[in-house]
């Protein structure tokens, strides 16, 4: 036997990829011009960008009048956004009619709120229970006395003077923190076997869900005073708070109920077989699972509540959007072609920042709590 075969001992050295599958050109071909349709779409996209970006850039930055600019600059023929107007009227947008020398009080409330809320939202920070008690029970009381005054020698500032972002935040924070537990209780009540509780919960939820928020606020502002004895007035901010909270809690209840229905019956029975009472079962077994399922729905409600706060203009409160609108209408010294547009853009940006923040945080929470299905 002679060796006549050839067995290659080592691999053929690999050649570089063909020129049309590597490098910049290939990336473009593959991602942008793979088919004629892709090519057309890419070109259309580019044309669109060229068409839309420069004017937007010019409006927002290029030709915009920055903070510290004058109204004359804003009135120039090709002037863009008038940011000078925003910076000049910022106090009204944030505090409304709140007395200017007293504005350190809302500032402290803002700072205190951030100081307590941020650690509460970061899972790693310890002392959650203390923190929650401080934020949910102590902070509202302190804030109320600080903002309203009349104690400790603070100048009393009636709620009619509160406005702008301050009111938007108060209504949304109070609305969110009150409507969430209320919604859970309503959802549990709706599933209760006790007929009175069940009927009351269903009646409340269905009544509130069947009317628009604007109607509830309108009712609170126009009908309510007629039924009250002469001279007794309920604070307008309180009316708005109650209206918004009741409204959101009805929606929240239905979202939570969705989560409750996703929990198999076996979980309830397992809890019962361990000898847990109703509330223990709910607190330790059912709600942690149920709420996890419906985080997107809950946050959806929070976001829509935040945006619905602008409806309190119905009761004559000046929230952020209404404060901007008021200044757009009345700040004659700032009138120019783009003043009102800039004002609304500013309001939109503020709303976007808050709503986007909530949305991102909820996605983070979902990932963190997604323990049961993580692969």
């Amino acid at each position: 036997m002679t060796d006549f075969g050839f067995v290659r001992a080592d691999m053929v050295p690999s050649k570089p990829a063909p020129i049309n599958t590597s490098g910049v050109g290939a990336w473009f071909r593959k991602n942008l011009f793979a088919t004629p349709l892709d090519g057309v779409l890419t070109i259309l996209g580019l044309v669109f960008l060229v068409w839309i970006v420069p004017p937007l850039y010019n409006f927002f930055i290029g030709h915009a009048v920055g903070p510290g600019g004058t109204v004359e600059e804003c009135r120039l023929e090709n002037a863009g956004a008038c940011w000078a107007y925003i910076s000049s009227e910022m106090e009204f947008f944030i505090y409304g009619f709140y007395d200017i020398p007293e504005q350190w009080r809302p500032n402290i409330v803002f700072a205190l709120g951030a100081l307590l809320l941020i650690p509460l939202l970061i899972p790693k920070v310890p002392f959650k229970r203390t923190n929650a008690v401080l934020f949910l029970l102590v902070f509202p009381v302190v804030s109320y006395f600080l903002l309203a005054g009349g104690v400790f020698g603070l100048k009393p500032i009636p709620t009619e003077k509160w406005g702008g972002l301050l009111v938007t935040l108060i209504i949304s924070v109070v609305g969110i923190s009150c409507s969430f537990p209320l919604g859970i209780i309503l959802a549990l009540g709706r599933q209760s076997k006790m007929p009175v509780i069940k009927t009351l919960c269903i009646a409340f939820i269905e009544l509130i869900r069947a009317v628009p928020l604007i109607t509830i606020l309108f009712m609170a502002s126009i009908m309510l005073p007629l039924f009250m004895p002469q001279g007794t007035t309920v604070d307008k901010l309180l009316r708005a708070l109650v209206g918004v909270t009741l409204f959101t809690s009805a929606y929240m209840a239905e979202v939570v109920r969705g989560g409750l229905q996703a929990i198999p019956r076996g979980q309830y029975e397992a809890g019962a077989s361990l000898g847990l009472g109703y509330w223990q079962r709910m607190y330790f077994i059912i709600l942690p699972q149920a709420l996890k399922h419906v985080i997107p729905g809950i946050v959806n409600n929070f976001i829509s509540l935040f945006k619905d706060t602008s409806l309190v203009y119905i009761v004559g409160m000046k929230d952020l959007l209404e404060a901007v609108k008021t200044k757009n209408d009345t700040a004659l010294e700032w009138q120019s072609a783009n003043t009102a547009t800039t004002g609304y853009l500013f309001a939109a940006m503020v709303f976007w920042v808050f709503c986007f923040g909530m949305s991102r945080y909820s996605m983070y929470m979902e990932r963190r709590l997604n323990t049961g299905y993580k692969r």
Partner: protein, 338 residues
């Protein structure tokens, strides 16, 4: 059925309002320490936040005058922003003590809502604005012109009446919102913009080049705007009414916030009576003898307030017109204080 329920509820609430309206408002106000004043959400010149975020305007000045007369402190006022829907409810429910909110005095309001109009702070009326370049000089030239108008308002009805009465072709472009109307006019979608002349002036001041637009001389409706109080408390009504008259009387007598202290020494008996140097006209109102002095000192007379808020020197730039005193060709007239 539902209608009946609503009727019963309304009747009950109105009955409640009527029976409790007897409480003396002045005593309540004095006990509270401030006047609760219903204002607009923001109408330039009438009630609007100024650059220091404090309410200012012609109608705000009226509330300040009221506070000055009662408390010798023009700042003893709290303001409630009201929408036009809730203003009368807020007044009859006692949430506010006086409504000073660009409210037109009409018979049905005066007689059917349980409220009383105090007087006319500002005589307004519907007018027309056109572009100067169109060369229109009179509303009678507007036949067939496209008119931007807010739907469902008396503005629309007034214009229709006027055009029908003058045999003009009525051609409207209708919008739901005031801002849209202005925008449409500005963008050239119509030739004419019509609303109350004070609002026309305010809107014109917001245009890029206000001088390109003119307000035609014709005023086609009567819109007397004035403060309103709850009916049934004549003492409070008198205070509200004579506060307004004091503003006018001070202008007529040449007493202003600048010279009021010198005027205390004036020999003119009318001035002496106004300022409480001679006679006592305050005590019968439940106020102090120098009530009018305080009004003029702290707020000024009608002319000062007008010039400061809506006059030709302001961006709104309204001439006195009908709002001049009777002796200057207007119809503002106060009965004598004696």
């Amino acid at each position: 059925m539902q209608k009946t329920l609503v009727t019963i509820a309304l009747a009950a609430s109105l009955g409640l309002a009527a029976t409790t309206a007897q409480a003396a408002i002045l005593d309540d106000v004095k006990a509270k320490g401030y006047v609760q004043c219903g204002v607009t959400g923001g109408v330039p010149g009438f009630s609007a936040p100024d650059s220091n975020n404090v309410w200012t305007g012609l109608e705000v000045d009226y509330c300040r005058a009221l506070a000055a007369a009662i408390f010798n402190d023009a700042d003893a006022v709290r303001y409630t922003s009201l929408t036009s829907q809730e203003r009368f409810t807020a007044l009859s429910a006692g949430e506010i003590d006086v409504l000073s909110r660009t409210t037109t005095w009409t018979m049905s309001r005066d007689t059917q809502l349980g409220i009383s109009f105090v007087g006319t702070m500002f005589y307004d009326g519907q007018g027309f604005m056109v572009r100067k370049a169109d060369g229109i000089a009179s509303a009678l030239d507007l036949s067939g012109a496209a008119i931007c108008i807010e739907s469902g308002t008396t503005t629309e009805l007034n214009a229709a009446d006027y055009f029908a009465a003058n045999n003009l072709e009525f051609n409207t472009v209708v919008f739901v919102d005031q801002d849209e109307v202005v925008k449409a006019y500005e963008d050239g979608r119509c030739d004419v913009y019509t609303t109350d002349s004070s609002a026309l002036a305010a809107e014109r001041s917001k245009f890029a080049v206000p001088d390109d637009h003119i307000i035609l001389p014709e005023i086609i409706s009567k819109e007397p705007l004035g403060p309103v109080v709850r009916a049934g408390d004549s003492a409070w009504f008198n205070i509200a009414r004579w506060t307004y008259f004091a503003l006018l009387e001070a202008e007529e007598l040449g007493v202003s916030s600048a010279n009021v202290d010198e005027m205390l020494g004036s020999d003119n008996p009318a001035i002496k009576r106004l300022l409480g140097v001679e006679g006592d006209f305050g005590t019968p109102l439940g106020l102090t003898k120098d009530w009018a002095y305080q009004i003029v000192k702290l707020v000024g007379n009608y002319a000062e307030s007008y010039e400061r808020n809506v006059g030709p020197a302001t961006p709104i730039g309204l001439e006195r017109g009908l709002n001049a005193l009777w002796r200057d060709g207007g119809i503002q007239y106060a009965p004598p204080i004696r």
